[in-house]
């Protein structure tokens, strides 16, 4: 059973790991450990994102699969209470 909020949690955490590692790599571009960490988080995010979008509608405006584009404007939005789950 695919759990929507668990998938969103994985997407948020892996995306944040990428955000933080991206800034670190901006000032340490030759750090291999950071680069490997970034790539690992990117794989985790990609897998969770693909599963989430296929089952619960789009998260990214330019997702490779926008066949469910009609769900883009469907609530709740992330800033609305409960929209982050």
């Amino acid at each position: 059973m695919i759990n929507k909020s668990e998938l969103m949690d994985i997407i948020n955490k892996s995306s944040f790991a990428m955000d933080d590692a991206r800034l670190f790599l901006d000032t340490h571009p030759y750090d291999n450990e950071a680069r490997n960490y970034f790539n690992k988080m990117e794989q985790i995010r990609k897998q969770a994102l693909t599963t989430y979008e296929a089952n619960f509608g789009p998260i990214c405006a330019y997702s490779p699969d926008m066949s469910n584009v009609r769900d883009w404007n469907k609530g709740p939005w992330p800033w609305q209470n409960g929209g982050c789950k």
Partner: protein, 203 residues
């Protein structure tokens, strides 16, 4: 350009309304050390930076600040969503309410509107990076001040996240300043604008 993702950088799910707290937290939306100033500061400064790696840091941090702006807006919105007129009065929210109802508008806690004079874009990388480091610390101090007023863990968690990001950004800007200075003749660090008076300041 930017591309929206339908999620917050860190989730905001607040169960209990608190208009009094919202009046304080709105300062990090449009106040002197808020996320609107932060995002506009870095995303405006980037154009004049000649070192592409340093310009990229401004772009990436500025992009993250836009996500923080959305988070602070979400916190204020959820703290004030569906307030009744009685709750507005009891929570001291009537002065904000009369102009904005329950909409989100960039202002400081004291009611002063957002103003671009809260940040600079000086066209000098050393000047701008020193401003950015100070800005991150001022925002960190503001988040510390806010945290002392919070008991609700639903509100404290995203505010603590935002506070931690100020510290990381300070570190990255410090490294960016070093990247700029590493290209310069140390005698001239603070004597001229390396991206304007270029002839004799580089090594």
């Amino acid at each position: 350009m930017w591309s929206y993702e339908k999620r917050l950088q860190f989730p905001v799910n607040i169960k209990n309304k608190d208009p009094r707290l919202a009046r304080i937290i709105i300062s990090q939306y449009g106040g002197p050390d808020g996320e609107m100033g932060a995002s506009m500061r870095y995303l405006s400064q980037k154009f004049a930076f000649k070192n592409p790696r340093v310009a990229g840091i401004l772009n990436d941090v500025g992009t993250e600040e836009l996500a923080h702006l959305e988070m602070v807006g979400a916190i204020v919105h959820q703290l004030t969503a569906n307030l009744t007129p009685e709750e507005i009065k009891a929570g001291g929210f009537e002065q904000y309410y009369v102009d904005h109802t329950l909409g989100i508008w960039p202002q400081a806690a004291g009611g002063v509107p957002f103003n671009a004079c809260e940040f600079q874009s000086k066209g000098d990388p050393i000047t701008d990076l020193f401003e950015n480091m100070a800005a991150e610390q001022k925002a960190r101090t503001t988040y510390d001040n806010i945290l002392r007023m919070i008991k609700d863990p639903d509100v404290a968690a995203p505010i603590k996240f935002l506070r931690q990001r100020e510290i990381v950004h300070f570190q990255r800007f410090g490294e960016a300043l070093r990247m700029v200075q590493d290209e310069l003749d140390s005698k001239n660090f603070y004597a001229m604008n390396p991206d304007f008076d270029c002839s004799n300041c580089f090594k």
